[in-house]
């Protein structure tokens, strides 16, 4: 059994919108069956992009194609109304119609909902989303996961040319989120339709995204493969958005092309970091310092009671514990290594090592755990 889709076209476009304090300016392209994740903090304008594609928000300028059809073009003065754009739109709050049953909700967008074909389709979708036996229930009688499945089934019922998912799993617990992610992936292999998914959850972006676009204050900072973009972000702002805890502004002292590393210093700090490949060989103009920003994830740092001399790790810094904070599931320990350095450890490690404020510890990490980011 498959969910039929009339057209399998790429969805693409660009829009400019005025949003309160900033302008939204972005472009996108999604292939059928692929998920483009719009990643960014709340208020970045991610949802507005979906609303602009859906015709629920009028951009200042732009061009939007859905299902091989131009639904908006500011120059050609094309504006297709929302109900003629053939979209599936799912929100965080589901917005199931409270006066309709599960079956009524799923069938809502079907023109032939009272015919046997329409009923057949509702049955198909119900079983695809494991909603059998719930047809006559009202939304308030369902669990959160069931409600979200109904919302997805409803969005797919009218065979959309594109799916817009606005933080669809944000109100569900972690377990359910994983299950629904699998279901979405499975559904997409069966019925390839371009999907745009808004999230501020890195894990979700990595799990679902075929590509990711990082949005901040209405602008696209970077677009690319989720692992690359979210793994070792190349921009300072992206690193901050992803919660990379340690960012240091340093000056390059010496490049070691043989080892693929370079040695950098800053106030009270010296680090061995990967060589900046793209500008290797070129040195800063005479009289100017060679500045870089180095990022290290708190979870990539090992804490030790003694200097791990004789280990392969290129960076071993000693410092006093400034603070210990609970950061579920573990703890964040901050050392004063000339500059504050945050390290994540588990509760068991904290207990075993008996870490206390004021204690002298070593922060140890590989040169390759460091990555360079651009932007002041």
């Amino acid at each position: 059994m498959t969910v039929q889709l009339a057209q399998r076209s790429t969805a693409n476009g660009w829009v400019q919108c005025r949003l309160g304090s900033f302008n939204l300016e972005t472009e996108w392209e999604v292939d059928p069956g692929e998920i483009l994740v719009l990643f960014g903090p709340s208020g970045a304008g991610k949802s507005s992009i979906l609303r602009a594609i859906g015709g629920l928000l009028r951009p200042v300028a732009g061009h939007v194609e859905v299902g091989g059809r131009v639904v908006y073009d500011s120059q050609a003065q094309i504006w297709v109304l929302t109900h003629e754009r053939r979209l599936g739109y799912v929100t965080q709050q589901y917005h199931l119609f409270p006066h309709l049953t599960v079956a009524g909700n799923i069938a809502f967008g079907l023109r032939d909902r009272n015919s046997s074909a329409g009923k057949q389709r509702v049955t198909e979708l119900s079983s695809l989303f494991q909603l059998e036996g719930l047809a006559d229930r009202y939304p308030w009688e369902l669990s959160g996961g069931q409600q979200q499945r109904v919302a997805l089934a409803r969005a797919l019922a009218s065979e959309p040319a594109m799916l817009l998912l606005d933080e669809p799993f944000a109100s569900l617990d972690a377990e359910l989120r994983r299950t629904l992610r699998r279901e979405i992936k499975a559904m997409l292999t069966q019925s390839p339709v371009p999907v745009m998914l808004v999230t501020h959850d890195r894990e979700e972006a990595l799990a679902l995204g075929d590509s990711v676009q990082v949005i901040d204050e209405g602008r696209t900072l970077v677009t690319g493969d989720p692992l690359e973009v979210l793994g070792q972000p190349g921009q300072r702002r992206v690193a901050q958005l992803l919660g990379v805890e340690n960012l240091f502004d340093l000056i390059v002292q010496e490049r070691n092309p043989r080892d693929g590393t370079m040695s950098c210093t800053g106030p009270g700090l010296q680090l061995e970091v990967p060589l900046d490949a793209h500008i290797s060989g070129s040195s800063a103009p005479e009289g100017q310092q060679d500045r870089v920003t180095v990022a290290i994830r708190a979870s990539d740092i090992i804490l030790a009671k003694e200097d791990l001399a004789g280990s392969s790790a290129r960076n071993r810094l000693s410092g006093r514990v400034i603070s210990i904070e609970s950061r579920p599931p573990g703890y964040a320990v901050t050392l004063d290594c000339g500059q504050p350095m945050r390290c994540h450890i588990t509760g068991a490690a904290l207990e075993e090592m008996g870490i206390e404020t004021g204690q002298q510890l070593w922060a140890v990490f590989k040169a390759s755990s460091c990555f360079l980011v651009k932007g002041g």
Binding site: G54, G55, L56, L81, T82, H83, E84, R85, R86, L87, G88, Y89, T91, Q93, H95, F97, P98, H99, L100, F108, G109, R111, Y138, P139, W140, R154, A155, A157, S158, L164
Partner: protein, 267 residues
């Protein structure tokens, strides 16, 4: 939940409830008791005068309610969804009849549509006379009753999140159909509540009708006016009409209350 034993509002509230029930219930009971003691109650109820007034009240109030619902619903929707300053001005204007004494409303309508009123002569020129006709009765009822419906309906629409309408349209349903398939059903209970209040108000309308429509049997004499006229000759007739009007009002409220009950609920 407030418990009567340990919360001062509980004690006062219980006492207040008791007094209010007596205060409102006693006159109603007294009316029914006196009417029951009457020797020829049935005769008074089925008298020509009573039936004529009842028929007029029913016909005029049904027409008023039809006008109020047909014009008031889209208007209330506009008020609910608009954020402009004008909408707020109009909004408060619509509620003016709630605080305006009905007699004043009647005089005001006379000044507008009367023989020497603002637009009365112009209407007369094209052959339309409103004052002291059945139309005037309907006008008076619409004037005093419409705010009850419009206000309640507006609140009902406001309680329907715009997101439901957005979602419906992404599902391929036109804005027009969305209104009938989503917005209207969701606002339905509030609309029926408003309709019940407006209807009861229209049935009981007295002051404005008296001023603007007069007291002509069969033409402008609705139930409340008939009661007043009857009081002048026989208490029995007035009692019978009062019981009929009371029963009518309660019937309207019960019927609309049944319609307001919904199978679904939002928690």
């Amino acid at each position: 939940m407030i418990r009567a034993v340990n919360h001062p509002a509980g004690i006062l509230g219980t006492g207040g409830a008791f007094l209010f029930v007596i205060f409102i219930g006693l006159p109603v009971v007294a009316l029914l008791v006196r009417a029951a003691q009457q020797s020829n109650f049935l005769g008074a109820v089925t008298s020509d005068a009573a039936l004529t007034a009842l028929r007029l009240s029913l016909i005029t109030s049904v027409i008023s309610m039809a006008v109020v619902v047909l014009l008031g619903t889209p208007f209330a929707y506009l008020l609910a969804r608009s954020e402009s300053l004008w909408a707020r001005v109009v909004d408060s204007l619509v509620e003016l009849p709630l605080i305006l004494p009905p007699v004043v409303a009647g005089v005001a309508m006379l000044m507008a549509f009367g023989r020497n009123g603002l637009i009365g002569p112009a209407l007369e020129n094209v052959g339309i006379t409103i004052p002291f006709t059945t139309t005037a009765v309907v006008f008076a009822q619409i004037f005093v009753a419409s705010p009850f419906f419009i206000r309640s309906t507006k609140l009902g629409f406001q309680a329907v999140p715009k997101d439901y309408e957005d979602i419906a349209q992404t599902l391929g349903v036109s804005p027009w159909r969305t209104f009938f398939r989503v917005t209207l059903p969701l606002a339905g209970p509030a609309m029926f509540t408003g309709l019940g209040l407006a209807w009861a108000r229209a049935l009981s309308e007295f002051g404005a009708t008296m001023m603007f429509a007069g007291n002509l049997t069969g033409e402008t004499q609705t139930m409340p006016l008939a009661i007043m006229s009857a009081m002048e000759t026989s208490l029995d007739g007035a009692l019978a009409l009062s019981v009929m009007l009371l029963a009518g009002s309660i019937l309207v409220l019960v019927l609309l209350g049944l319609l307001t009950r919904r199978r679904w609920q939002s928690r």
